[in-house]
Symmetry: C2
Subunit: 315 residues, 2 copies
């Protein structure tokens, strides 16, 4: 789909060039109302493709996937053959525009395979059935349940895209309730502001792999009657103090969410929170979950190093 000028293709990997050329731009005509039925169709089609990738990752990583329910919330515990019974654990909140994706998603599987830490991935209710702030409550409950299961092992919370936004809202809510916080946050291409604001939602429209306007229309089914700038919906508008956990973020120059990383970095810096923000040349929304892509591999490696630096016993 994407036609690159040489100035752009010179600075990315050959694999990235091929992927950009092959991507089918994800959009829906503006005049089509986004019904629950259409969402269901998108979800089913997406999952059919993902199942193949996920099963491949489980095979090559010799991963165990165990459906769990903690504190009343369903999820998946993912472990590699090298996973320890001690040390840090990851609580993962998958992406998928609030309307698709499952606990067994790529990022959770890759995290388990590449860190050897146990990954507790939450199966939150998808929109339009699942909406803010109930989904945030659900993930908070899951996080509480994992805390009860793992005791005093350090917990890292990881999220991708929509899942990053939910994860950040959960942490702000846990802070409000004076509950123990994760020791670190990993936010891949984070959807921290789903009001539609941000320079990158404009300049990366038609440059990213999907339309920002369409993403917003999907997000509306999650926002429901809430104010899009309610901190439980868009944690960009929530409080960020020195108490906020050390945070790793990544995005790419084509990512419609880039401005979220720019703006949230400001908030973290102003609060004196340690953070790392990676803006990867030429990369699109969600690039980080590509199993083999060089740009994705180095970005995930930096994320896992961040975990290691912020837990007593990383891998």
């Amino acid at each position: 789909m994407t036609k690159l000028q040489s100035a752009q293709s010179n600075t990315i990997s050959a694999a990235a060039r091929r992927m950009l050329a092959d991507f089918k731009y994800f959009n829906l005509p503006n005049f089509v109302p986004i019904t629950a039925r259409m969402i269901n169709r998108i979800r089913t089609q997406f999952q059919a493709g993902e199942n193949v990738v996920e099963e491949g990752l489980i095979d090559t990583g010799h991963l165990a996937t165990e459906p769990i329910k903690v504190n009343g919330v369903a999820g998946m515990k993912i472990t590699s053959p090298h996973t320890d019974d001690a040390g840090p654990v990851i609580v993962n909140v998958h992406g998928g525009g609030f309307i698709m994706g499952t606990a067994r998603e790529r990022t959770a599987l890759l995290a388990a395979a590449e860190t050897n830490l146990p990954v507790y991935s939450v199966e939150y209710t998808l929109a339009p059935e699942g909406q803010a702030p109930l989904v945030v409550q659900e993930v908070l409950d899951f996080y509480r349940g994992v805390r009860a299961v793992v005791g005093d092992r350090p917990i890292v919370m990881s999220g991708s895209s929509a899942g990053s936004g939910i994860a950040a809202a959960v942490v702000q809510q846990a802070h409000n309730l004076q509950e123990p916080l994760p020791v670190a946050m990993i936010l891949f291409c984070p959807a921290l502001d789903i009001s539609g604001d941000g320079d990158s939602a404009i300049f990366n429209e038609k440059r990213d792999v999907g339309s920002a306007k369409m993403a917003l229309r999907l997000a509306e089914r999650y926002i429901g009657d809430n104010n899009p700038r309610d901190p439980l919906v868009s944690p960009m508008y929530g409080e960020v103090g020195a108490w906020f956990p050390p945070t790793f973020m990544s995005t790419g120059t084509r990512d419609l969410m880039l401005s979220n990383v720019a703006r949230f970095s400001d908030k973290l810096r102003a609060a004196g929170v340690e953070y790392t923000a990676i803006i990867k040349e030429g990369m699109w929304h969600g690039f980080n979950w590509e199993p083999q892509l060089e740009e994705a591999v180095t970005t995930r490696r930096a994320a896992w190093q961040f975990i290691q630096q912020h837990t007593e016993a990383g891998n």
Copy 2:
């Protein structure tokens, strides 16, 4: 000049909105050859505007500006009334597309006023008279001269735009020659690759305050007969090892140089060099030198904090 959508104006300061509305886009018609005479005209016009700003900064900061010559190279020593005779010093390399600007530039003045450190700002030969690699040699000589003057006081090297590229090349060259390196680098909107490569040179064309294509045409007068990817011309292609000094970089989402920060961050991270990279929402090339603009003030503050963290006695 710039028409903002609400998604873009919502996420920047009111002053930034006004500035973007007022900016006159800096471009030259493609069919006009860039002669030495035209460069001279651009330079004179630019400096006339800058003189007013510079004198204002000198007044309000009660700054002393002393023309100096060290190791055969001219420059300016800038001090505030609170400048110490001990502690770190800054060696500054001004920006201006290689063809304009002087040692007494805004960033040097702001650095002196805001850090109270002495700033040694180099008056390198501008293009087309001054070209790589001779300009790099000139700035290296100046840096050596300052080392001789300040003894074992820690030196921070700071550059803006074109000056950042020169500064990085000087450090790589000093390393090759096994000379003492600065303790930290401050690179504002750095021109580390002037070959024209980078995603942002494409997507920020017409979004930044000036044309990337025109900047490239001006840079050609500095590049001369050299290969634009020679490390002495574009230090992006030079070696970056663990020896590279801790580095602060800043850019904005509208900056045609954004990709330089993205790509150089990768190199620093791969080499295990400590760095901070700030991508400021909605900001343009060189925004950091605006004296009052909130986005610029917080960016400079972060730069000066970086100096403080990496010198034994910051201000």
